[in-house]
Assembly symmetry: C2
Homo-oligomer: 413 residues x 2
């Protein structure tokens, strides 16, 4: 039996114990981990420095180095994030619905999912954040981070396990999957009897690989080719603010705006002004042929621009003749993440919100709000772009399943 299989079996066993853990026991474990992280700050930063040193020798981008880097402040955020989870109520055990049928009392009751397989890139904070969400919902978790963060993830997992040893939860509830021969991902993706769900977090290539190869059910997260459609009746001042915010407030995240669709009547009057504003914020515009007429200095858009998640200060701009053309464009190129319409016409807004098929559809607000904390979930493990199980930000509730508990008095059928 391989190491990963042994780890998965231990996780499965731990998950059976977690099912009956009380909310107090789970909260106590979260507190113990938070304290241990604070206590071991120096050792964590030392191990993180090893990862940073290696990454600097490699061909890694500045963005990756930033995601990899831990600081005292980031460690404190991780610890206080765990403490925030303590304040949220545990969804497990909640009776979602009660039915009486055939004299049977049928209670649909929230349960943990069981064992979560987390496959992720670079950021060591995911190790701690997903551990917290998993434990609070009574799930065991197998963490398969990237090799670039191995030193950081190893010490974090070690500290978590040591902290769990001081509590009533089993330390095998949280395990880092080490992977000397790089076969662990494939193994994780096919252990249907030991793992209940795989959650990938990272770039499009990682997510695609997981979707293609996994026989375990997957919660697909993340890729966001998000649009703002400016309708003919949109308020120009509001449109300026929202487009600048959607594009520039944090361009590297999945809920940033990537393509602007503009009704031609609005474009004729206001697009030049908006493009000047975008220029001031350093945004490069890639425009359709009609856009090129109104903004001669823009870069001509090529077909690939409509499907690109730039994650950068670049905005594709297309002028459309109608709401329907905007919706069709989003159907064709959107990734089902976050889409917005700016309009003063409520009927148009309603048609857009009904017709667009995405996790979050906005009327007169920035796409940047698609986020567990902004939705009031307190925390999130990722943003689902699939339609099964969970859509949009996934918080505690989305890490649960349910079962029907049926009480009878001898009923037969």
């Amino acid at each position: 039996m391989s190491d990963v299989q042994q780890q998965a079996q231990a996780a499965r066993k731990a998950s059976k114990k977690l099912v009956t853990a009380t909310e107090d026991q789970k909260n106590h474990a979260l507190q113990a981990i938070a304290q241990a992280l604070r206590k071991e700050k120096a050792s964590i930063l030392k191990q993180n420095q090893k990862d940073l040193d290696q990454a600097e020798k490699g061909q890694y981008s500045r963005a990756l180095l930033d995601r990899l880097k831990l600081t005292e402040e980031r460690l404190e955020e991780m610890a206080s994030g765990l403490e925030e989870l303590i304040t949220l109520s545990d969804p497990v055990g909640e009776v979602m619905e009660t039915r009486i049928q055939n004299g049977l009392r049928i209670e649909q009751t929230r349960t943990p999912l069981g064992v979560i397989g987390m496959i992720y890139e670079a950021r060591p904070n995911v190790t701690v954040d997903s551990t917290g969400l998993a434990l609070k919902t009574g799930n065991a978790i197998l963490l398969r981070g990237s090799s670039s963060a191995l030193h950081s993830n190893s010490i974090l997992a070690e500290i978590i396990q040591q902290a769990l040893e001081t509590t009533s939860l089993p330390p095998e509830a949280v395990q880092l999957v080490k992977d000397p021969d790089r076969t662990s991902v494939r193994e994780l993706l096919t252990m249907n009897h030991l793992i209940d769900v795989i959650i990938p977090r990272g770039g499009a290539a990682l997510i695609q690989r997981v979707v293609q190869e996994s026989t375990v059910p997957v919660l697909e997260t993340g890729v966001g080719n998000c649009h703002i459609y400016i309708d003919l009746s949109a308020d120009p001042v509001m449109a300026h603010r929202i487009v600048i915010n959607g594009k520039t407030s944090r361009p590297a995240v999945c809920n940033a705006t990537e393509t602007l669709l503009v009704h031609r009547d609005w474009a004729e009057k206001h697009l030049t002004g908006l493009s000047e504003e975008l220029n001031k914020h350093g945004v490069e515009i890639r425009g359709c042929s009609h856009t090129q007429q109104l903004i001669p200095q823009c870069i001509p858009a090529v077909p690939a621009d409509w499907e690109t998640e730039y994650l950068d200060l670049i905005l594709a701009v297309k002028i459309v003749d109608s709401l329907e053309e905007a919706i069709d464009h989003i159907h064709r190129y959107g990734t089902g993440h976050s889409e917005a319409i700016l309009t003063e016409n409520d009927d148009t807004a309603h048609r857009f919100m009904q017709g667009v098929d995405a996790a979050a559809v906005y009327h007169n607000a920035s796409t940047r709000f698609t986020d567990g904390s902004q939705f009031g979930f307190g925390a999130e493990i990722g943003i689902s772009t699939q339609k099964l199980h969970a859509r949009g930000p996934m918080g505690l509730r989305e890490l649960t399943s349910y079962k029907y508990c049926i009480s009878g008095s001898g009923q037969i059928r």
Copy 2:
């Protein structure tokens, strides 16, 4: 582009129209299909006879022939099943939860899933039943039945499409996938951008193939290796009734009982009597070594018996020392379908219901109740044995997803 791809694209396009269909429009379509089925009874039975003739020439079992056979009565059941769906309320559009955050109104709103790919064996009634459930929830459906039912499924799909042509719903919402070169299943399983979910219905081999090969999310259904655990305090009269019902009322269905676990104290007093009752009902007992001492005439169980879904008048019987041993056995061999405990001790029942990881867990009732109609769902498209999205009987609500509709007044982050 292959035929299946063209069909899937047409289904995707139809699904966009279905999103905005009203409940009245959908009910009208269900009524039109029910009427057409009644009107075309003679032609349907004629085509069904062709399938039956072919099947009789082949190596098909009596059970398969029975599943394949349509009668006037069965056709009327299919038509009235559609009419029953009309009386159920449409879940699409329901606001599941409203949150106010950052001045934004965030409404979690039920939506159709989109396009459902149904892959199933033999029974032509699945063609009509799943069409009804899909249309009522605003989903398009691609039906890939087995070749043994091709004539029956073809005429049913034709009648459904003709009926849809008289309504405001697009006929491409329901399409039968024909498969001269037998590549359509693989194609369906990998069309991630056109199909939102695959639902397999049939034997274990079909379901396993779908789980292994599909990159589209799957709702795994059906295999039920269901247990009844008779605790030491179980009422003997109730235990007799429930065990006989679980095993013999309809042995070929997935919620039938396959293994009996008996606490040794109860077994010493009552197992012989129960075995005599089972004998009278024609049930073959395959017992563990301890069982063999109490019922000398039983067949010795081999390890494979604990994991077999007999779907027949055979019952595996194992005597256990404790509740924990019973739960461990179910963890090891159960398929997460339906599990029951018979006990007069409420604390023991609670521990069983909390500890056993299955879609439906019963206290003092037969496993046979795991069924959409018995749960009051009105209809079901299958029984999920996975933990993601839906667990247990899947009715209308389980054929929906949701999206967040967010209304603002210019908010930025």
